[in-house]
């Protein structure tokens, strides 16, 4: 394996490790202390409605599972596309829900502005990375073996 390929593999490992850490931290926080998460997350969560501890924990499970899948992918490069598809599926569906709730008026006018980078921008980044990993994997599979 060339040093370039090894460096690329390590760079992807950094991306997956950080992404996993974010999901694991958020999921653990939601599961361990929903009330604290609801009040102290640097966002306007109370603005989306009253606290429902059960639903916060339900959502925390999703983040935790995504975090675990991404963490496995750090050590097992063959699992990276699957883990990324899992994460992109969730974040993509979440972005679609934001579009729907903006269109039907659940969110106030101007919510698009707030969502543009945190929700839609990051989801787009995730889609691009998933396509990149998929293409890279296909290239590796089709490369002639030495």
């Amino acid at each position: 394996m060339s040093s370039n390929t090894q460096a690329a593999g390590r760079a992807w490992g950094i991306v997956f490790a950080l992404f996993a850490a974010g999901n694991l931290a958020n999921g653990s926080w939601m599961l361990a202390n929903p009330g604290h998460w609801y009040v102290h997350l640097p966002a306007n969560v109370p603005g989306s409605g009253p606290l429902n501890e059960h639903f916060v924990r339900d959502t925390g499970c999703i983040f935790l599972l995504i975090g675990v899948a991404l963490a496995i992918a750090v050590w097992k490069p063959r699992c990276r596309l699957t883990a990324l598809l899992f994460a992109t599926g969730f974040y993509g569906a979440h972005a679609v829900v934001h579009v729907y709730d903006s269109v039907r008026g659940l969110f106030p006018p101007g919510q698009w502005r707030y969502d543009l980078l945190p929700v839609y921008g990051t989801t787009l980044l995730l889609v691009i990375l998933t396509l990149w990993v998929a293409r890279r994997g296909r290239g590796e599979r089709s490369a002639p073996r030495a």
Binding site: A11, I14, G49, V103, L106, P109, Y114, T122
Partner: protein, 130 residues
């Protein structure tokens, strides 16, 4: 040098992705309203927001139709159990539910409408406009 750049880009992308779960909830986005009921009477679809009992009704008037957006005290959208409009005291039209709003056709020369919406499991709301 190339590898260092590669790691820096990876760290930057990784940092954005690290923050992504927290960013999902919007830094400064309002979603609905944390200040309690009736803290927002702004139009969300370019129409006029009217209060009926404890509910909000946004009317968006078009030359040949009216769109109705019903929401509760917190501006959470509601689908009415029934909806009808009596135009100029003589012609009654039934609303049609389309995707996320009620839509009713109206004759072009209409002057006023008596709107009647039944909240699912709640009261019958009656409003004359204008």
């Amino acid at each position: 040098m190339k590898n260092a750049l590669c790691y820096m880009v990876a760290a930057a992308v990784g940092f954005i992705l690290f923050a992504m779960p927290f960013l999902l909830y919007g830094l400064g986005g309002g979603h609905t309203h944390g200040d309690g009921p009736h803290s927002d009477h702004g139009a969300r679809h370019g129409g006029q927001v009217l209060m009926v009992s404890d509910y909000h009704l946004e009317l968006v008037e078009h030359p040949d139709s009216v769109e109705l957006y019903l929401s509760d005290a917190f501006r959470r959208p509601l689908r009415p159990a029934s909806c009808s409009v009596e135009f100029d005291g003589r012609r009654t039209a039934i609303c049609e539910w389309r995707s996320h709003r009620s839509v009713v056709s109206r004759p072009i020369d209409t002057q006023s409408g008596l709107y009647q919406l039944r909240v699912d499991g709640g009261p019958l709301l009656t409003l004359k406009f204008p």
